[in-house]
């Protein structure tokens, strides 16, 4: 293996680049999966979709569905952004209105 010329050789002490505090903060944030109400979706369908995607009990799914119905939206899952995105897409593929947002 050819050696690098002295001017581009690696320093003997490798200094890690500083991560800005904002980058760290973004990575550590918790994200909410939010399901929004719509006027046409049957309630039972919402319960089935929640049970199938999140694996919650029927009782918990019914509670979440009722919150969507009465309050216009409900947080159905919270956690890391990648998983929140994945859950959100699965809910959207099942035909419900769903987004993600930073937990407040």
């Amino acid at each position: 293996m050819a050696s690098l010329p002295p001017e581009v050789a690696q320093p003997s002490v490798i200094v890690e680049p500083e991560r800005s505090t904002s980058t760290v903060a973004v990575a550590q944030r918790t994200w909410d999966v939010v399901v929004w109400n719509d006027p046409v979706t049957p309630m039972d369908v919402v319960v089935v979709i929640f049970r199938r995607i999140f694996g919650y009990s029927t009782g918990r799914c019914t509670q979440l569905m009722m919150r969507v119905h009465h309050e216009g939206r409900a947080v159905v899952w919270s956690g890391r952004r990648e998983r929140a995105e994945e859950y959100c897409v699965r809910v959207q593929v099942a035909g419900l209105r769903c987004t993600i947002e930073v937990t407040t």
């Binding site: 719509d38 369908v45 089935v48 959207q92 035909g95 987004t99």
Partner: protein, 141 residues
């Protein structure tokens, strides 16, 4: 009234739809599939709903979602004449009919209960027909 879908003891969902019901399912699935190809502009917007409204979505996420919706719709087109669905096929039916219901509502600006009540009779009828199918199918899943 006879149930439109029933769960079979050994697994799977029995379909008891007449020709009119099956044509409704087929039409809904074809429109969802067409939306994925960009041929149904109003419904295409539904398929492009943002995941995170505060910033542009990752194109791979958008493509993945559209691919999954289209796969479900194509599976429904393939099985629209079947009398017995596997659980995976029944889930594809539920997802596709639900996407179609939302597409129909968006297309006719049905944003709340009042707008639904004021919708033209044919739209109201199609919304109710899709709701009936979904309600019955949900009871089997």
């Amino acid at each position: 009234m006879a149930r439109l879908f029933t769960r079979q003891r050994g697994g799977g969902v029995v379909v008891r739809l007449n020709e009119l019901g099956r044509s409704l399912v087929l039409d809904a699935a074809r429109r969802v599939a067409a939306a994925e190809r960009g041929e149904e502009s109003v419904w295409a917007a539904l398929l492009a709903s943002p995941v995170d409204p505060s910033r542009a979505d990752d194109p791979l996420v958008t493509l993945g979602r559209q691919r999954d919706m289209a796969s479900n719709a194509e599976l429904v087109v393939l099985t629209a004449g079947e009398d017995l669905l596997t659980d995976a096929e029944a889930w594809a039916w539920l997802s596709t009919l639900q996407v179609a219901l939302r597409g129909l509502a968006d297309e006719h600006a049905v944003t709340d209960e009042d707008a639904l009540a004021a919708a033209p009779p044919d739209v109201h009828e199609r919304v109710q027909a899709l709701q009936t199918l979904l309600f019955s199918l949900a009871s089997c899943l």
